[in-house]
Amino acid sequence: MDVMSFFTWLEGSALGQMAKSYGGVYAMAQTVHLASMALLGGTVLVTDLRLLNVALTDVPSNVVADGAHKWFKVALTIILISGIFMVAGVAMKAYYNAFYWAKMAALATGIVFVFAVKRPLLKKDHSQIPGWVLKMTAVASLTVWFSVAACGRWIGFS
């Protein structure tokens, strides 16, 4: 099954039909998506602002990073579930939308970055990591998650 066939199937599936037929349910899914996006943004910002020595400077960065990461995973899971429901209702529109694919690319980059780079690095004792490495990690993280959110918002405009 190629990508286009998958999107065609998704829009015609029970999930796609439900998302299309019930505007109230769709709006609720959008609300859950936005709220979990805010939570994800909060966990990313708290960690990255701490790494940049902007916020919570009197709390060890290890403590902030560990505490925030648990809720980052919760937020990401809810975002993915609600996102699948949302795209099911407009699958073909999304398929032909450049910003949808830009968001997916940014999201995939963000997930890989968090679980393959950021988290393994931040699990270590931060006092053993050069400050510039922590700061560069924070800047990269803020950039990639800003891209995900901005591209996501722009899907609706194009």
């Binding site: 609300t31 936005l34 709220a35 805010a38 909060g42 916020a55 809720w71 405009f157």
Partner: protein
């Protein structure tokens, strides 16, 4: 009477050159809306982290007041930009927005959330020495945090629903909906 006044004001606002320009500008309007949503992430993101701490669910090894006080500045920066962009979004489409059930509900919920935040903040300051280091704050603090989370999720829903035309004036709705939306009969057709 109030609805007529609000509508007259909205019509005057909507006739302003800048309002029309903003409404008709594709990029400007979209950038304002994007900024509104992104700063909502900054404001609510910080608020959610604070509320989760007050619920005893996140960063429980950090004093509660430290989380609330240190995240206050970035949260308020996000809030300020969110409010400014929110006003600009209203300014671009004032007539329809004024007569939106969802916009009216959102404003009411924002006021309730503001009152809850004020009570919550005072309660936290007063009781700080007694529970600040506790992983699980007292029940009244947890209720305040739960209420805050619920109200803001409801505000997101109301904000999201403004875009839908379910209860727009001029359609065949019940008297209650027309009253809640503030539909003025003369302009409803």
């Amino acid at each position: 009477m109030l609805n007529e006044v609000l509508l007259t004001f909205a019509q005057w606002l909507g006739a302003q050159q800048w309002s029309i320009g903003l409404h008709e500008s594709f990029y400007m309007y979209n950038w304002i809306e994007t900024t509104h949503v992104l700063t909502l992430t900054v404001f609510l993101g910080m608020l959610f982290v604070i509320d989760l701490r007050m619920l005893g669910l996140a960063l429980t090894n950090v004093p509660a007041s430290k989380i609330a006080e240190r995240l206050d500045v970035p949260m308020m920066i996000g809030f300020t930009v969110m409010i400014i962009t929110g006003f600009l979004l209203f300014y671009a489409i004032p007539v329809r927005t004024t007569q939106s059930v969802w916009f009216r509900l959102k404003v009411i919920l924002l006021i309730v959330a503001g009152i809850n935040a004020w009570i919550f903040r005072n309660r936290m300051k007063a009781a700080k020495p007694t529970w600040d280091n506790d992983p699980r704050p007292p029940k009244n603090v947890r209720i305040g945090a739960g209420l805050s989370l619920s109200l803001w999720i409801a505000i997101i829903f109301a904000g999201r629903a403004i875009a839908y035309d379910w209860f727009d004036c001029g359609q065949d709705h019940t008297d209650f909906i027309n009253w809640a939306a503030g539909c003025v009969v003369d302009t409803a057709g």
